[in-house]
Symmetry: C2
């Protein structure tokens, strides 16, 4: 794999420049010469060195993609969407899992810059990711925010309207008779969490239901977080009649805890969440959700990024708000009375 342009050149009996011309297909090469060079390339298994190319052209043909976790059922499609779009544009993707850890995320960013990525797609860990991005952004480096926005940070982004989505979900619960509705939210330094909480408040307010701190549980947005929050919730008396969780994995964890206490969803308690749970939805279509087109976050994000890279994006930052659809299933059946103390 150490074959260079020069090796090809000497085998073909031409200069390096001629080989370069053939490789880059610009034309201006005698057909006969071209053939000789192509033969040599094939014979030697020559593969151009992008490192060298990048060094001189300032184009690494790579972008960075930072997400909290590829395994997350929301981010996995985001990653695929971004990668597919990048491939079509001739770019490779350096994938990073920040684990929602600011320090790790910062290290990734620095290293990606060292690798001279031409742009960065990032679902920032928290609002404080801002400081890691500020210098980059000021220097005009192409950045696109995915899913989460950052306060006081003007930048291209692809998001959904979490306030509206959450409101739809909670309004639906209210419409079918729920009034004591709990919410599982995440630490308040993530925009989507804040917005979904805000949507929850708005829906309550519109229905003149008082907002109660007691019904809002702050937790990690994974299964274990949902599980624990539900355990705490189960100590309430009276129990809420429904729960709205900030995302799908939290809902799955909540469901698990409820089951263990003998509470059936939706018979004994309603459960709705942001984000669908793909396979689950097929097999047990009982959870009412707001579904986001996850893959589109990735593909549109990449598209915005490539426009920036090509300098075809203009001065102003663009913000794409994707539609999130309410999918009503069965997990929040209408209810009128106050639920029994099903478990203790």
């Amino acid at each position: 794999m150490a074959v260079t342009l020069r090796d090809v050149a000497s085998r073909a009996g031409v200069s390096a420049m001629t080989v370069s011309r053939v490789v880059n297909g610009g034309g201006g090469v005698d057909p006969e010469t071209q053939r000789k060079v192509e033969d040599a390339i094939l014979a030697l298994d020559y593969v151009p060195n992008r490192l060298a190319r990048g060094l001189i052209s300032h184009k690494s043909k790579t972008i960075g993609l930072i997400v909290p976790d590829v395994v997350n059922p929301f981010f996995a499609p985001v990653v695929r969407g971004a990668e597919t779009t990048a491939r079509k544009a001739g770019y490779r993707v350096l994938l990073c899992n920040s684990e929602a850890d600011l320090r790790l995320e910062r290290e990734y960013i620095e290293d990606l810059i060292a690798h001279r990525i031409e742009g960065l797609l990032i679902a920032p860990a928290t609002d404080r990711s801002r400081v890691s991005l500020l210098a980059l952004q000021k220097s005009g480096f192409p950045i696109v925010l995915l899913d989460r926005s950052l306060p006081d940070f003007d930048c291209d982004s692809v998001v959904s309207d979490s306030v509206a989505g959450a409101r739809k979900l909670v309004e639906h619960l209210i419409k079918i008779g729920h009034r004591r509705i709990a919410h599982f939210t995440e630490s308040d330094d993530v925009s989507t969490g804040r917005d979904r909480l805000e949507g929850y408040r708005q829906a309550l307010e519109a229905a003149r239901i008082p907002y109660s701190e007691e019904l809002v549980f702050r937790t990690t947005v994974d299964r274990i977080g949902g599980y624990r929050a539900a355990q705490h919730l189960l100590a309430l008396d009276p129990l809420p009649t429904a729960i709205f969780t900030v995302n799908n994995m939290t809902a799955v964890g909540a469901m698990q805890a409820l089951r263990e206490r003998g509470l059936a969803v939706p018979k004994d308690i309603g459960l709705v969440c942001y984000d669908d749970v793909e396979h689950l939805a097929v097999l047990s279509p009982f959870m009412t959700v707001v579904d986001q087109p996850a893959e589109t976050f990735g593909s549109l994000g990449a598209q915005l990024l490539f426009e920036r890279i090509a300098d075809k994006a203009g001065e102003r930052s663009r913000r794409i708000v994707l539609q999130a659809d309410l999918i009503v299933r069965e997990s929040c059946c209408a209810r009128t009375g106050i639920p029994g103390r099903a478990a203790h």
Copy 2:
């Protein structure tokens, strides 16, 4: 972002070499000089250029990772495992989704080589991926196969024993009374598919149950494939009493089709599969599966790869066989008679 070593050098009033020494921390620099250089680095926001470094050192500090699809619930954790291990080793990962397409895969490989990755982790699309890898492997380029092995291709790999796993699954079905067992398999040019079919045959043979082509359905290993295969299966008379699918998504699709025909799992028909369905297992723990430690495929694979890259792996190729565990749940309740024609 166009700050170079020289810029730092001139600002600090030293030579480029001195800056290089400071950056690489080799020592042998006067503390006072060191401080001046560090100040300059900070002041200028200098980030070393890995492209340039890689060009001279022949170390890009990147590896390639090719999987059919990151969204696949098996490969997503594989990717995370690999990326985490790579990060700890100071490497970045170029992620590629081959979409199980040989041509795409081949293009990826070539481009990754152009990017001078130091090694390749790959879950090959099919047996025919071999030709795309042969030249590389012969030249001693570090490659580790994940999940799938390739015939006549001697190479480090991390796999599970699919024959044994499948056999366990089918033996379990037989033990609880099933004798007419269908199998959904994939095209026979994927090692795991072949092996699982072989495990199915072995289990039947051990129980003196004749193997019947009629009960083996070849399909794509996604939800839609499972769905379609199940639809064909439902035309059989008598119906099989149980189905063993080659992976989890196929099982989910099958389940969907069965449901639509009014067949309940496991009441009316048994269903088992290779690979667990994470969230589903929590909420509807009815499917008996063979569970693979997916993330470990990635992390161990990366480990093998880095040993190769560091040339600490020796001549012979290593093959790690991970244990896949049978998890018995309820999806294959014991049965004795012949099932009714539940749907038509």
